[in-house]
């Protein structure tokens, strides 16, 4: 496909931000991205925003309008995109397609979620709406429960160990130490993960991403327009998206995520790349098993070998294919609608050489964002 330039990126601090409102979050990330791009608001043709559940988290729908208003971007077209935790990744893809279609030349893509205004029980209930409400959630299933059943099956089929799952969390917490925007700046050990409270066996508290407030934003431009603003943009060279059944129980297998595989295949094909070309990846580790499932279905490691690859340091900074240098959803935090956009921000920083203490040497990067238990997946390939 034709390339689309990322000319600006912005993030808020991720965390429990009691004193910051939904619209403040978005405006902060958006302002940072527009400053970074060196453009003016009047250069922006359209706005896309990823948001999972403003309606349940803060009793606010019509998010797109709210954001265009508070960002001072009216009357440009503003569109909300929703696919549970993949909302942000899909918003990026909508922005890419808007530019590739020729309809727009400069597009702002944001993602935002304000999750901590609800109790933990209500938040858990809201996240469970990403599953099949009538036939999973109603039966008493939770989101960690779904991933736990995937983990159990992966352990059964491939011999993945409980310790290997823990090592994903340990690695991502280590990476987050070098990310000033991350929710957690705490080193953890395998022993601490294994001693943390069980949430849904075999997953424990430290296998799970936290509840997070935050926003992320990128400015996209056509290759021609990008030259007006920067000499060294990062390009999105491939984009892929796939769907699968909403309920885990309707799938042929649960130890492999078909939607991730299909989205990856499309993204690699559009970019003219192969898994072996990828040098840094941000993948959807909402739960530790999620990272293992992701790197396998994306072809970054062999199927069934994700646990072992993690244990052997292949996915650590300095390893063969560093994964989740930002700290991932696990340690950077997971404001669901913002996550897919924040992943793009991290890979852009890596490819620009602006990732500070977590910098790796990379020219080709990948982002991977999942909705639900794998009902939606979206993958982007970025290159400098």
């Amino acid at each position: 496909m034709k390339r689309v330039a990322v000319i600006g990126v912005g993030l808020t601090k991720f965390g429990e931000l009691w004193d910051v409102s939904f619209s403040q979050l978005f405006v902060e990330a958006g302002t940072a991205a527009i400053n970074d791009a060196g453009i003016d608001g009047s250069d922006v043709d359209a706005l896309y925003v990823g948001n999972m559940s403003g309606g349940r988290f803060i009793d606010q729908e019509h998010i797109s309008c709210l954001i265009a208003d508070y960002a001072g971007l009216t009357p440009i077209p503003a569109t909300r995109v929703e696919a549970a935790c993949a909302s942000g990744g899909l918003a990026v893809r909508q922005g890419v397609m808007a530019i590739l279609s020729g309809m727009h030349e400069v597009v702002v893509v944001g993602g935002v979620e304000k999750m901590t205004d609800l109790s933990t029980e209500r938040t858990t209930q809201t996240l469970a709406t990403a599953s099949d409400s009538e036939w999973e959630a109603f039966m008493g299933m939770t989101f960690p429960g779904l991933y736990a059943m995937m983990a159990r099956r992966h352990m059964h089929e491939y011999g993945t160990t409980r310790e290997q799952l823990a090592m994903v969390a340990v690695k991502n917490h280590e990476n987050a130490l070098h990310n000033p925007y991350a929710q957690f700046h705490s080193r953890i050990t395998v022993e601490q993960v294994l001693a943390s409270p069980l949430v849904a066996d075999p997953l424990r508290l430290l296998d799970c991403s936290p509840i997070t407030d935050g926003a992320a934003c990128v400015v996209l431009a056509s290759e021609e327009r990008a030259k007006e603003f920067t000499d060294s943009p990062v390009y999105i060279t491939g984009s892929g998206q796939a769907s699968s059944t909403i309920a885990l129980h309707s799938r042929e297998r649960v130890s492999f995520v078909d939607a991730t595989y299909n989205a990856g295949r499309e993204a690699y094909a559009r970019a003219g790349r192969e898994p072996g070309d990828v040098q840094v990846a941000e993948v959807h580790d909402a739960f530790t098993i999620g990272e293992i499932l992701a790197i396998e279905a994306l072809g970054l490691v062999e199927v069934g070998a994700g646990g072992r690859a993690t244990e052997e340091g292949e996915t650590s900074i300095g390893g063969r294919i560093p994964v989740n240098t930002s700290g991932g959803l696990k340690a950077k935090g997971h404001p669901v609608g913002a996550t897919g956009v924040a992943q793009v921000v991290e890979v852009v920083l890596q490819l620009r050489g602006e990732a500070g203490g977590r910098q790796v040497d990379a020219e080709v990067g990948l982002t991977h964002n999942v909705g639900g238990s794998g009902g939606t997946a979206v993958v982007h390939i970025l290159e400098r």
Binding site: A128, G140, M141, L248
Partner: protein, 141 residues
């Protein structure tokens, strides 16, 4: 999701009380929970009702320790993917079994139980859970 509106629940009572699913006359695929379009044949398919035996085996499972709203009094409880002998898989709670005894491949059968209730005075939602088939697996006194 917690509670469900009365009409939303009532629409599905046949499936929830009797495990009535659908079978495609064209390709033979059995669907449970029921669907009104065959995923394989789509418009060319023709779905008919079929009552399932309720027998199957555990494909994967977990123990929910952090329950959603409405299940606080049940936790910890075992949730499983049950592969039914007619082919489809369902998500359901396992009852009458110690969590430590559950294993992949364990044979189970469906039973009619209370799933959740809408507070002290509200609706009681019934449906299926699964219990072990083999005596050795059933929770002892």
């Amino acid at each position: 999701m917690g509670m469900m509106s009365v009409p939303r629940f009532w629409r599905n009572t046949k499936a929830r009380y009797l495990m009535v699913g659908r079978r495609c006359r064209r390709c033979g695929q059995v669907y449970f929970p029921p669907r009104n379009l065959c995923r394989r044949c789509r418009r060319r398919g023709e779905l008919e009702e079929v009552r399932l035996s309720g027998r199957g085996e555990v494909y994967s499972f977990t123990v929910i320790r952090t329950p959603p709203v409405g299940f606080e009094r049940s936790a910890p409880y075992v949730m499983a993917l049950v592969k039914l002998e007619e082919g489809p898989m369902v998500t359901a709670q396992l009852a009458d079994v110690e969590p430590e005894r559950v294993r992949i491949g364990m044979r189970v059968r469906s039973v009619f139980r209370k799933i959740q209730e809408d507070g002290e005075a509200g609706l009681i939602y019934y449906g299926f859970k699964f219990v072990p088939v083999d005596e050795d697996d059933v929770q002892g006194e």
